[in-house]
């Protein structure tokens, strides 16, 4: 990654042009042709730096509810339980952490009823009873873009 890549990355994280030919507009800003710009962005996608280019929706505005769940899983079952939890499409994040509550996952569902039913289903399919729902009471920050180091 050279300086131009870094500048390009920082620019397209929060300010991707919403126009017919965005790479032409971006290229103009950095003194590149449309083709050069697209080639660089393609390189960043292929090397795995960029995961995707698109929107991040506010799930609440689309009528969805999200929930963080902390689970206490017997350590020898952690891998198996994690695999079952991850298999639900409504589970977006699923991490193990170094704590007695050792599995932390987030659910995004259409409404509270569906969310509660899904959680009961997950408890049943994993056999883990100790799952704590941790709804956000107040949101102080959700940041989705990062200045590169």
């Amino acid at each position: 990654m050279d300086e131009i890549d870094k500048n390009l990355l920082n620019a397209i994280q929060c300010d991707f042009p919403i126009v017919h030919r965005p790479y032409a507009v971006l290229g103009e800003r950095f003194g590149l042709t449309e083709e050069e710009t697209l080639t660089r962005v393609r390189g960043l996608v292929e090397s795995g730096v960029i995961r995707r280019i698109g929107p991040s929706f506010d799930s609440r505005k689309l009528g969805y509810v999200s929930m963080l769940v902390a689970a206490k899983v017997p350590p020898d079952q952690l891998e198996d339980v994690a695999r079952i939890v991850s298999s639900y499409p409504q589970v977006t994040h699923n991490y193990s952490r170094d704590h007695e509550y050792n599995l932390w996952f987030t659910l995004v569902c259409e409404g509270t009823d569906k969310l509660n039913r899904l959680l009961e289903e997950i408890k049943r399919s994993t056999g883990v009873r100790d799952m704590v729902c941790l709804p956000a009471k107040r949101v102080f920050k959700i940041k989705v873009d990062f200045e590169l180091l």
Binding site: Q13, E34, P55, F57, K61, P89, Y95, V132, R138
Partner: protein, 166 residues
């Protein structure tokens, strides 16, 4: 409420744009709208906050953020607002929420901290602690990332699980 057309646009956009000169053409076609209408809807959604951000999403590991810690803080109830606002100002903190305490877990504020290393995360937490006077906190590090994906909205029945895994 969303119109059928808006639902179709969310479906067409949510997994990202194709990499080509005119990346909005294909999603417009899939959603059954013309490109100008699609661009207008995106701008409107950006303005009203339905779209938080439109752009490139990075793999933080590849971009130099090797460590991430979930900081959990035991903050006096009447201090939460001030604590939240202070932590939110720190650029290494990506998310900050108040959540309920639970049995055996007295922590009520969560901060996601990203850094190049664990010691960098620890330094950030120490700065938050010093700035707020809150000393009862823990950093819970990720041991395995089993899943990290974007949600799929308005999933069509019987459609396969197409979350963009990364």
């Amino acid at each position: 409420m969303m119109t059928d057309k808006q639902v179709a646009i969310v479906r067409a956009l949510q997994h990202g744009l194709p990499l080509c000169e005119e990346p909005f053409s294909e999603p417009a076609q899939i959603a059954g709208v013309d490109v100008d209408e699609l661009l207008r809807q995106i701008e409107l959604w950006k303005q009203d906050g339905t779209i938080r951000r439109f752009g490139a999403f990075l793999n933080h590991h590849r971009a130099g953020f090797k460590a991430n810690a979930m900081g959990v803080w035991n903050v006096a109830d009447d201090m939460v607002e001030l604590f939240g606002r202070t932590a939110a100002q720190i650029s290494a903190v990506s998310h900050c929420y108040e959540r309920p305490r639970f049995e055996g877990f007295p922590y009520n504020v969560y901060t996601m901290i990203h850094g190049a290393s664990r010691s960098e995360c620890e330094l950030v937490a120490k700065r938050i602690s010093e700035a707020t006077g809150v000393t009862d906190y823990k950093l819970l590090y990720t041991t395995t990332e089993f899943k990290k994906s974007s949600p799929t909205y308005f999933r069509e029945e019987n459609s396969p699980n197409l979350g963009d895994e990364s």
